[in-house]
Amino acid sequence: MVSVINTVDTSHEDMIHDAQMDYYGTRLATCSSDRTVKIFDVRNGGQILVADLRGHEGPVWQVAWAHPMFGNILASCSYDRKVIIWKEENGAWDKMYEYTGHESSVNSVCWGPYDFGLILACGSSDGAISLLTFTGDQQWDVKKISNAHTIGCNAVSWAPAVVPGSLIDQPSGQKPNYVKRFVSGGCDNLVKLWKEEDGQWKEDQKLEAHSDWVRDVGWAPSIGLPTSTIASCSQDGRVFIWTCDDPAGNTWTAKLLHKFNDVVWHVSWSITGNILAVSGGDNKVTLWKESMDGQWACISDVSKGQGAVSTITDTQQNEQ
């Protein structure tokens, strides 16, 4: 069941391209073609404009909140080829860092798990993916994967922090030896997995199933099982669920969640990793859940603004 509990009038002057809640679900960040990023305090159903961040010179595509252990930090990326990291200091938001290392539109930003420190992945239409790591003292270390996706990278999403070999329980005490991984999707129709080895980022897997641009990728949060799950959606209207059971992470199998009639722009996992929200070009949001027998079923269509919900139990009904 989906019911609207708060409607935030952003007063953006052009298209909204992203809206993200912070870790606690108390602040909403939005970004728009009007080149601004806005932050709202939405606690208790309210809407208080906290900040109106201006600094981009083009449409702002995505925003991403860092984990609160680093303070209140927000990253934004734009068609102006810039990535800006904003930070709240004493109640005031300001630019913390501006990254201009991309040669084309930066389409996606995503913070790594907090276990890795403050690390941001950025995917750009120049085909490259940048990894910005805060090294302290206002310094950011930049690593760049050139030509990660020919014609452009549209989305990046981090894998949850797990230690290889001990995917469920890890001994406390010593600092775990995490392997940093993330997934990206691009205009080469590919989903690619990347892995850091000896400080270098390497292509780990290349997943082929889409026949058109991969618009978004989402690595599901870990729910304690040794299975990795990734959702990818594409211009071709298809949404795939990729799963990998082997600890080495080498064998990925794709399952078609659904073929929509329009481009699918965005996928988002619930915090507990059991529901996938899919938003498409037909302005429709659908929620999907895996049943006990491993089938993905649409559990509801979200008609925004109305709060109306039609529960669809039969997947076939949604084939249209």
């Binding site: 069941m1 509990i5 409607t7 935030v8 298209m15 909204i16 391209h17 809206a19 993200q20 809640m21 870790y23 679900g25 108390t26 602040r27 909403l28 939005t30 728009s32 208790n44 449409p59 595509w61 609160p68 252990m69 680093f70 303070g71 068609y79 080829r81 930070k87 004493n90 300001d94 913390m96 040669e103 084309s104 539109s105 907090y114 420190g117 239409s125 120049d126 206002q138 030509n147 020919t150 014609i151 205009c187 590919l190 058109d212 071709d236 722009w265 988002s268 996992w269 619930s270 915090i271 507990t272 929200a277 938003s279 302005n283 949001v285 929620l287 559990i299 509801s300 925004k304 603004g305």
Partner: protein, 1167 residues
């Protein structure tokens, strides 16, 4: 940015949008020759593999053709469902129109040509396919020839109407993108004609009368049916005209930027704001035709480009064909050219090296290909972001099952005047409806304390017998006479038994030969006791004496004979007589035993003292080998361990019944657990359920969880709900019993509860989730969830600030300063606002700071060292007091005082108190309890020491005392009342009638924080001895005396629920306010509100009775009541606001809002 390139002089056609992968078909151009003067012609198909970073295109198929081409298109017609195939249609220089199957070209090539027509008389320069009917194709050639072809049958093409005069070349044909029967054609002289195929005639002619428009291109607007553009090849007028047929007298817009004639145009179907044009000025421009602005200039070679085309499938791609013989594919999204140019240079260089082109015999130096100025290698993307990168819609999940969605209305070609609302929606997603419903029910039961009703409802709705059994057992824990009810549940009904016995007594007694049959056993036992008591009664009647000493028995035996002899012979009888006569009981007993006269032996040994009796029993039992001997032995020797350890598991019910009847409180729980453990080890689901019943009797929450989880799926929300419901009820019954909260100790229970809280959180029930989260755990997962829940609730949860669950990392933009310096001012600022202040490094190790986070709440409670003078709770309990709901615990007993009595917490509402004021208990034994079955002497010896003095002295084992189902043994009630209450004991000895008032003030001193459960059963750890009081009587213990008393003294029970005296003023004030308003109120709506208010204020009074309101709220209420009394409602509302803003919402939500309503009404009515 250049992506692919190949040397060809050719016309090009992209595969259609639906085609995957992307191919580019190239047909050798007519009227262009390269330096080789080669006149062969071919049709080639290349694949665009963009995962290959090189510039090479991959040739997939090639077909030699007899003619060179003027035009080529790739149509959807004949395309397979798999997105391959279609048809290539080529217009040649000699007028032939040929249809190819691209699949055939790529495979064998044998049957590549699927159709051909020579209908056109001259070169076919113009081709276009209908976007609606993919079998329709339009072609244009010399002499004003236009044909409409059906690709199914090329033999009879149609014409759109009569040929235009004078006859001219047709340079371009174009189908309308919105209306399928509209076609336009244009010719080099500059005229464009729009045809309506339904009318079969031209409907409009477009010409600007300048005579300089030499149409090289014409395209319909992708979105607007009435608009089209014309491109002029004339160097004197190198423009693109945009026409709207609604104003067809002059162009709507003229796009001017090229300096020489335009050769080709292409309009993006993915974004109508992107129009490409190539011209003889060597430039390729991208226009926004709606504004006339040039938004992109392609970095190109210095050659004319005679054909430019957007890729239909990949909207960022375009291909160009230039007169220098190159076909190039570009992306308009910008990027770096460096790497690719390098590779090109290498290739050229290496090719030269290998062939020594000038034959000089000298190796040439590597070719220095001039890099086109290094700075320019970065190509910016389109100035205007194309439509296909502008994400119009999104949905993202956030914590607590929130879904953030937004959408943008589809952009209309005509800008709508009113601004579009740019909204973001926050929705609550709930997927587990039944789970939430049941969770709400559970929560309601936990908060209201109506456990009995809850359990009863569960029993009624139970889906299986096993489920029903469990709930029946759980319910019994909340009831009086729990022990007897447990027995009844096990199938041992006292009443039925009595009936059976009376029936049985009429018949002859049949020894049971087939093992321990429980009912028979019970009958036998009962019979035994009944017979005995019958005897006693008989004796009593006969002798009119209450005394029933063994001597009486003995003396009565010979009653049947009026005269009797005392044998003194040397046979056994005589010896016995003699031994008795001299008082040698031992000898007499031995003689009896020896002679098999067991009854006499037992009778005699009773008179001979405890030791002898015991010895006799042992001897007797060691000789008996039948099936009931074990039971009798256990009953007599009170050795229940043997029973639970060695009985047949099928007899678990009987074993449990025996425990319920006989076992000592301090052993009961352990014995139940032992039995449960055995059942559990059996491993079957049935046994595990039986084990669960044992654990419920013993009150062992942890074992219940473990056992349950063995066989039930607890991973699904409903499965978990099943478990949590039972656990919470069992815990609640233990808490009720012990009058203190039970902390979660076992890891498995903590895990389950955390999981449960996690699901609740994911379904949006944040505050409820918080209540289930184990409080005493430092596990990262739990502390993190708690932190997240706390902050996520916003102001509603103020005052519950948990410790930070993670180390804050200082990511200051300023130069890093010592954390201590930044923290202090920040904490001030953040306290009201967002506690996750950056760089709170110093705060992370500190305990919760109520002073910081609830500055206005409970000022008296700020210092942990200051005992509030008139407060129910000690400072350490501030946190639980703010949270109304159930499983919260104060921090592990910091001020634990072992000898102090309990904080007299309010009795659970609605339920009968299982624990009457101890002072009301009679010092007698319990009538109706099975005590008579006990050999009295034995029993007394077993638990003689008075227990009410000081901490409980463990009986030998040191084991915690009692379980909920444990029977109370005789000394209990007696002991409980034995010593007169002195000193610290007065806390619990106070009759409830005087609860509150002066006593309250003492309470903080007497408070003892509840001890956590450290032992598997309820009870008290040895290292933290709990004062012994009535609360230690297990729930299953026989409570008949108390029940009887309570029934006799209903007044006491009512008084117990009375509102404390000092708060009575609240009730009287508010009630009278409501009454006054009701009298004054006129309209029915207000009246209804007031009726509701009268009801809702009941919640307040309940809370007052429970004494569960925090100091802060009580103060506020009194203040409000004073304001109401003085009819200063304005001030009352202000105070109300203060209280509401500074209190835990859920604590006050039941009554505060209605109070405000009443005051507002009162204010309005002026009462």
């Amino acid at each position: 940015m250049r992506l692919k390139e190949i040397q060809r002089t050719a016309h090009q056609a992209w595969s259609p949008a639906g085609h995957h992968p992307i191919y580019l078909a190239l047909g050798t151009s007519a009227q262009q020759l390269d330096a080789s003067f080669n006149t062969t012609a071919a049709l080639e198909i290349f694949e665009m593999d963009f995962s290959d970073p090189s510039l090479d295109m991959q040739l997939k198929g090639s077909l030699p053709t007899s003619n060179r081409l003027h035009s080529i298109v790739w149509v959807n017609f004949g395309m397979g469902a798999d997105g391959t195939g279609g048809r290539l249609v080529a217009g040649s220089e000699n007028g032939t129109l040929t249809v190819y199957n691209p699949e055939e070209i790529m495979s064998s090539g044998v049957e590549a040509i699927v159709g051909q027509s020579d209908k056109h008389t001259g070169p076919v320069r113009a081709l276009d396919f209908n976007p609606f009917q993919n079998n329709l194709l339009a072609s244009g050639a010399n002499d004003s020839e236009i044909y409409i072809w059906d690709l199914n049958n090329l033999s009879s093409p149609m014409t759109p109407g009569a040929k235009t005069q004078p006859a001219e070349d047709i340079s371009v044909v174009s189908w309308n993108r919105q209306v399928q029967h509209i076609l336009a054609s244009a010719n080099p002289s500059g005229k464009a004609v729009v045809w309506d195929l339904r009318k079969n005639e031209p409907i409009i002619k477009i010409s600007d009368h300048s005579n300089r428009m030499h149409c090289s291109g014409m395209l319909w607007h992708p979105d607007v049916a009435t608009q089209l553009v014309l491109a002029s090849e004339d160097d004197r007028l190198p423009v693109i005209q945009m026409w709207d047929l609604r104003f067809a007298t002059s162009p709507l817009k003229v796009l001017e930027n090229h300096t020489r004639g335009i050769l080709s145009i292409s309009w993006s179907q993915a974004d109508s704001e992107l129009l490409l044009s190539s011209a003889k000025d060597n430039r390729i421009l991208c226009w926004n035709p709606n504004t006339g602005e040039v938004i992109y200039e392609l970095p190109t070679t210095n050659q004319w480009c005679f054909d430019v085309q957007w890729c239909p499938r990949n909207p960022a791609l375009l291909s160009t064909a230039s007169f220098d013989g190159r076909i190039t594919v570009y992306s308009v999204m910008g990027g770096s050219l460096k790497a690719q140019q390098q590779s090109t240079a290498d290739k050229i260089s290496s090719s030269f090296d290998s062939m020594d082109p000038f034959g000089t015999g000298q190796v040439l130096p590597p070719l220095q290909v001039p890099q086109p100025t290094v700075q320019d290698t970065v190509v910016p993307p389109l100035k205007k972001p194309p439509k296909w990168v502008r994400r119009p819609v999104g949905a993202s999940f956030a914590f607590g099952g929130k879904l953030i969605t937004f959408e943008n209305p589809k952009p209309t070609p005509v800008q709508s005047p009113q601004p579009v609302p740019r909204q973001v929606f926050v929705s609550q997603v709930t997927t587990e409806t039944e789970f939430l419903q049941r969770s709400r029910e559970l929560q309601a039961a936990l908060q209201s304390g109506s456990f009995n009703n809850y359990c009863q409802a569960k029993i009624q709705n139970a889906k299986s017998d096993a489920e029903q059994d469990i709930w029946k057992f759980l319910l019994v824990n909340f009831e009086d006479e729990a022990r007897i009810k447990f027995l009844r549940l096990l199938g041992f009904s006292k009443d039925e038994l009595e009936k059976k016995i009376s029936k049985c007594l009429g018949k002859s007694f049949q020894p049971n030969g087939h093992g321990v049959d429980a009912k028979d056993l019970a009958e036998k036992m009962q019979r035994l006791s009944t017979e005995r008591s019958d005897e006693v009664t008989a004796v009593g009647d006969a002798r009119t004496s209450g005394s029933v000493s063994p001597a009486d028995f003995f003396s009565q035996t010979p009653k049947e004979n009026s005269n009797f002899q005392i044998p003194v012979s040397c046979d056994t009888d005589g010896l016995i007589s003699q031994a008795l006569l001299v008082g040698n009981f031992e000898g007499a007993v031995d003689l009896c035993l020896n002679d098999g006269r067991y009854a006499e032996a037992i009778l005699l040994s009773i008179s001979g003292g405890e030791e002898l009796l015991k010895k006799t029993q042992q001897k007797y039992l060691s000789k008996q080998k039948n099936s009931i001997s074990m039971l009798i032995s256990s009953v007599v020797t009170q050795n229940w361990r043997d029973i639970v350890q060695s009985c047949e598991l099928d007899n678990w019910k009987e074993a449990l019944a025996a425990l319920l009847t006989y076992a000592h409180p301090e052993d009961f729980a352990r014995l139940c657990d032992t039995l449960g453990g055995r059942l559990e080890r059996e491993g079957t689901e049935k046994r595990c359920l039986q084990a669960c019943l044992c654990y419920i009797c013993s009150g062992n929450v942890e074992k219940l969880v473990e056992c349950w989880a063995l066989h039930r799926d607890c991973s699904s929300p409903l499965g978990l709900e099943d478990l949590v419901e039972k656990v919470m009820m069992l815990r609640k019954s233990i808490e009720r019993l012990r009058n203190s909260e039970v902390a979660v100790q076992s890891p498995i229970l903590a895990e389950k509860l955390t999981c449960y809280a996690g699901i609740l959180a994911a379904e949006g029930s944040l505050s409820t989730a918080m209540t289930y989260l184990p409080d005493n755990s430092d596990q990262p997962g739990i502390t993190m969830l708690r932190d997240r829940l706390f902050h996520a609730q916003g102001e509603a949860a103020i005052g519950q600030q948990p410790p930070n669950s993670f180390n804050r990392v200082n990511v200051s933009t300023a130069k890093p300063t010592p954390a201590a310096q930044t923290t202090a001012p920040k904490a001030q600022i953040m306290s009201q606002y967002q506690p996750s202040a950056p760089s709170q490094v110093a705060a992370q190790a500190q305990p919760p700071m109520p002073s910081v986070f609830t500055p206005q709440a409970a000022p008296a409670n700020t210092g942990p060292g200051l005992p509030p003078s008139s407060h129910v709770l000690p400072p350490s309990a501030t946190r639980p007091a703010m949270r109304p709901s159930y499983p919260q615990h104060p921090a592990p007993a910091p001020g634990f005082l072992p000898h102090q009595p309990f904080q007299p917490q309010p009795m659970p509402m609605g339920g009968l108190s299982a624990f009457p004021p101890p002072g009301l208990m009679p010092p007698s034994s319990q009538p109706g309890a099975p005590v008579p079955m006990y050999p009295g002497g034995l029993h007394n010896q077993g638990s003689a020491p008075p227990m009410a003095s000081g901490p409980y002295a463990p009986l030998g084992s040191g084991y915690p005392q009692g379980g909920p189902g444990a029977p109370a043994v005789k000394p209990f009630p007696a002991a409980a009342v034995a010593p007169p209450p002195t000193g610290p004991q007065e806390g619990w000895n106070d009759p409830p009638a005087v609860r509150g008032g002066p006593r309250k003030k003492k309470v903080p001193d007497n408070y003892t924080p509840p001890a956590p459960i450290t032992a598997p059963v309820m009870g008290f750890p040895v290292e933290a001895p709990q004062p012994h009081d009535h609360a230690q009587v297990p729930p299953g213990a026989p409570q008949e005396p108390s029940v009887q008393l309570l029934q006799q003294l209903p007044a006491e029970r009512v008084e117990q629920k009375e509102i404390p005296a000092e708060h009575m003023v609240l009730k009287s004030t508010f009630d009278s306010l409501v009454q006054r308003c009701q009298l004054a109120a006129g309209d029915p709506q207000t009246k209804r509100k007031l009726d509701d208010a009268a009801k809702r204020l009941g919640y307040l009074y309940d809370k007052l009775r429970e004494q569960s309101l925090s100091h802060n709220i009580l103060n506020g209420l009194h203040e409000i009541s004073r304001c109401v009394a003085s009819q200063n409602y304005q001030r009352g509302l202000e105070v109300h606001t203060q209280v509401v803003s500074s209190s835990n919402f859920s604590e006050i939500s039941a009554f505060m809002p209605i109070l405000k309503v009443v005051m507002t009404i009162a204010n309005k009515l002026g009462v």
